[in-house]
Point group: C2
Chain length 233, copies 2
DNA sequence: TTTTACTACACGAACGATCGTGCTGTCAAC
DNA sequence: GTTGACAGCACGATCGTTCGTGTAGTAAAA
């Protein structure tokens, strides 16, 4: 009986309320990336969508449930915008590089209003225990492990030196992209993307087996100055 | 007239209300680092200090003024805990390394409840125009420039290769410490500090003039694995 | 085919709590 | 006796949440 109803629900075209729910989350995810998951307010969200507070609230049952659903939606978008494109490249160093490039591009084209959704909410919730914090931590860890995993696969393919510590490499690559996100959103500094790219290529060059250096170009990055910049202080 | 008043204020022993003001800011800065500058609430702050809302409010006149004052207090603490100790070392690569080490230590001993105050508020306010945002951006930029500046000084002293792009170097060093802050606060991962240190030494080794390598030790960091870690997925 | 029963979805009104911000009064120090 | 630091009280707005109601649409009963 319950099973039959469930099947119907799945086969039916987007159970009407499900469509509304998705529209709510689509709007919420952008507000949350700019104002934070706590700054995301039910009243404000309802206004923006011309819904009543209570009507909107009914879809989630609590603010925490809303926040969790928003994170899920953000994950969905991140997969669509970053993971899927990168995973079209062949495995190994090509895909690893694609993951980082797609990630940088996603920050640069401001897929979320307030910069990378996950970095923003990680910092917002890192000292607020609860389901929200746990979910963000899980997703962050999972992405970091995906990077490390691809580096390890590159080792198996003989593209990266097997003496390279892939955990250390993932840490540094991740750091560079997050720094670009930070710099771009705080200073509107687009140069940060090039700086991140330079660092990424440099890290990979260090770890690449001699025969594959051509894949990444030959010049050492750190020791080449770009255009002069003005002296501070 | 105004000048005289200012002098008096400085010479007098903590103009009575000034002491209260400092106590307020001391408490506020820790709440703000954990709950955010917006999550920092006047009522909550008053409760914690056994003051009335209005009494506390009178010291600042508006929430934005309170936020600005809190940032100033955080800057003061950062200078005391990080800048001053690091500036006791001799100029050049020694001081540069000291700045990064003190910074890591400051994150590691949780000087602020919620991790690095400035990273947290930078991300919170990066898409909220206003005085608060501007002040945070100024301080962040200034710290980044201080790092770059010391690197440039190390070049003058012949400790760093003059072909090294100091802007790029500062970007990467800054990235490593911020990543450690992120990782530690989100995952309680103390290993992140070693990873940051490893990356820092590696960057500096790359840029160090051959004669000074002994200052940093001789082993290449990226290609040395530490203890085995479990395989994810 | 019509009636009935039930569910899904959304609304408006209101709850108590808390937000930032004023105004007024009091008490102590200069 | 003037000034500065605070408390007390109250304000309008907004917070998350609950409740009762209304309206479609669908399923079963007549």
């Amino acid at each position: 009986m319950k099973a039959i109803a469930d099947i119907r629900k799945q086969k039916d075209k987007a159970a009407k309320g499900e469509k509304t729910r998705q529209e709510i989350l689509e709007a919420a995810v952008h507000i949350a990336s700019a104002e934070g998951l706590e700054g995301l307010t039910i009243g404000r969200l309802a206004d923006e969508l011309h819904l009543s507070k209570s009507g909107l609230f009914g879809h989630f049952g609590s603010k925490e449930e809303l926040q969790l659903a928003v994170i899920g939606k953000a994950r969905e978008i991140f997969v669509r915008e970053v993971v899927d494109p990168a995973f079209q490249g062949e495995r190994g160093i090509v895909r690893l590089l694609a993951m980082l490039e797609e990630w940088l591009a996603y920050v640069g084209r401001s897929v979320f209003r307030g910069g990378c959704f996950f970095m923003a909410s990680a910092i917002e919730f890192d000292s607020r225990p609860g389901q929200v914090r746990d979910l963000i931590a899980d997703l962050s860890r999972s992405w970091l492990e995906t990077i490390e995993n691809e580096a390890r696969h590159a080792q198996i393919l003989g593209q990266l030196d097997t003496r390279t510590d892939t955990g250390q490499l993932a840490f540094e690559l991740h750091a560079l992209v997050q720094e670009a996100n930070w710099s771009y959103n705080l200073f509107q500094n687009r140069q940060a993307f090039d700086q991140a790219r330079t660092g990424i290529l440099d890290r990979l060059r260090q770890a690449t087996t001699p025969g594959l250096l051509r894949l990444l170009g030959k010049k050492s990055a750190v020791k080449k100055k770009p255009a002069k910049r003005k002296e501070p202080k």
